[in-house]
Amino acid sequence: MIIDKKNPATTPAFFSEDYFESFASNHSWEPGWLVDLRKESWATLQEDELVSLKDERWRFSPKSRLSYSHFKSISESSNSINFDHASGSPQNILNTIDNILLDNSDLIADFAEIQGPNLGATQSYHLTNTYFTNGFFLKVSGNQNQKLHLLVNHTCPEERFVTFHKNYVILDDFTEVTLVENFISEDDFSRGGLSNLTHFKIGKGAKLNRILIQNMAEGTSFHNLENFDLHADSLVVNVQCHLGANQSRIETKGNLREPGANFENFSFVSGRGEQLFDQRTEQYHFAPHCSSNLLAKNVLQDEAKSIFAGLIKVDPKAQQTNALQTNRNLLLSRDAEADSLPGLEILANDVRCTHGATTSRLNQEELFYLLSRGIEKKSAESLISLGFLEEIIGKIQDDELTKRIREMVFTHFK
């Protein structure tokens, strides 16, 4: 049993052997490989020492806020995932992981073997692999006559409950899909937690437009780990919008496995109150002639805090790599805080890699200009902030969606 040494009384039940045994027994209908995965993950969880604060992968992070000791138990509600429509056509399959396990488990036979992102949140990773009870599976196979646009909603459970989602997205060669994922709460006061682990396998020449919108209730916790495997000439445009949750740990890794792959990763944070957004990213170039581009922009009000730690990693054989990484932070108050750790680890000698980070306060001349037109200070701040984030929002090619996202940002200034 893992015990929170600082506060053993608050250790949640799901860290006990008895709880796991009972959980495993209830899930004994699952295929053998999944039973093994859960057992192995549980065992690893026992072996893992609680991560020390000195771990570079947790640098600047107030880790206690991201622990699981706030929760009493696990929510296994099947309602925590829903789609605009499930699809069972042979060309594209969108369904819950449970249904796939029951009816079509061959499709996810390699589910246990895929790893990542592995950027530090090992406890979340192993807990999710141990206890996931929901998630979605998407496989896009054939050529589409019309552009495929899919919506998945993840709902954070009620007060003191945490739910674990594990998802798998497969794009076969030369397919294309737009996937929008909303992370929401049942109500404004729910203070549960949602841990979400997603593997994306992007086939040769395939294109994924992915938009993540996290607007959970502000008392909630969000752990989101995602790992993209990109094959030859594939393209991923990943846009993440983070507005909700009291604390978030977000890990995003793009693995450029074969020549010609292109990973575009854009994100914004709009933080207020005491919100914490701990973002870790990695652009890992395994193969030559690949591109990756990352732009993370954060706007912070009040006492909100963001951490951005990004790494560009280039293997010796990944020549002709083109990789960019930029983090820009805009602080609207004296107590807001942004920490930035951009990093490069380049072992090839013929590459073009740049990285940079800036943190600035609100430009007083810009603010005065807006005020001088009669716009109130809070509205002026929201306009300037939205203008700052427009570089990210503008990557989303969906007018309805961008309108909704802008409105969400505006409500953060009321």
Binding site: Y369, L371, S372, R373, G374, I375, E376, K377, L389, E390
Partner: protein, 250 residues
């Protein structure tokens, strides 16, 4: 009649006095021009009246239509009816002209009133057409990458949309070619009325050939040192500011 009334105004920037016991009164319906050499305090006057935080008002009063501007925040002053067309309009990336002007109009509306987008765009497009601004500009970021002329036209567009009681034009003619000067001046002239006042700050008589002032004032070392009718501007143009300097020394 209501006026913009400035009395004994002293303004400092970082402990350096710029305006010194400055007084000026402009009744509604009149256009006054202030001319003066570089560093005489013209732009300081405009920024101080608009409550820019870098300008420290240590003495004096400024009233617009019964509002004491000295105690007001910049947004309150704007909503009270004062409009400042900037000498150097600020670039605000990501904020479109349409959203910016819309926010400024909504800030003036009573909460119970509904913003009517159709009426707004109809008026906006009309004003843009009048000022020769391409309608595509509504979606462009405010002043971001604009030419000097485009920035100034955009200032006048904002002025026309916000319908202020009193307008200060701070060197609106700088950076304008002759065609843009005509268009901008026509925009200003179309807004001249008996219930609106203007203060036009300029270095050159050229602008005053298009926006003909009722009075011209010469500013020197933070004070008005001479006032007259529009002929004073011509006199300044032909004689230069040294003439004033010599007179003051005498």
């Amino acid at each position: 009649m209501s006026t913009l009334k400035v009395q004994n105004l002293s303004v400092y920037i970082e402990d350096k006095p710029i305006l010194n016991d400055f007084s000026l009164e402009i009744p509604y319906g009149e256009v006054h021009a202030i001319m003066g050499p570089n560093g005489s305090g013209k732009s300081t006057l405009s920024k101080a009246l608009a409550a820019h935080p870098n300008y420290d008002i240590r003495n004096g009063t400024a009233e617009l239509d019964g509002h004491n501007l000295i105690d007001m925040e910049p947004d309150e002053i704007s909503r009270a009816g004062l409009f400042l067309a900037f000498q150097y309009p600020i670039e605000v990336p990501g904020v479109t002209i349409a959203n910016f002007i819309r926010a400024a109009i909504q800030a003036r509306m009573e909460e119970s009133k509904l913003f009517k987008a159709v009426d707004y765009y109809k008026k906006l497009y009309q004003k843009m057409d009048d000022l020769g601004i391409d309608r595509k500009f509504t979606a462009r970021s405010l002043n971001d990458g604009f030419s000097g002329g485009e920035k100034k036209r955009c200032e006048i567009l904002q002025m026309a949309m916000l319908d202020p009681k009193f307008c200060i034009l701070d060197e609106t003619d700088s950076g304008l070619d002759i065609d843009a000067l005509r268009v901008v001046s026509a925009g200003v002239n179309s807004m001249r009325s008996s219930n609106r006042g203007f203060l036009v700050i300029t270095h050159y008589q050229r602008l005053l050939d298009y926006i003909v002032p009722d009075k011209v004032h010469v500013m020197w070392e933070g004070k008005i040192v001479r006032s007259g009718d529009k002929d004073l501007a011509s006199e300044l143009e032909s004689k230069g500011y040294d003439w004033i300097k010599e007179e003051l020394a005498a």
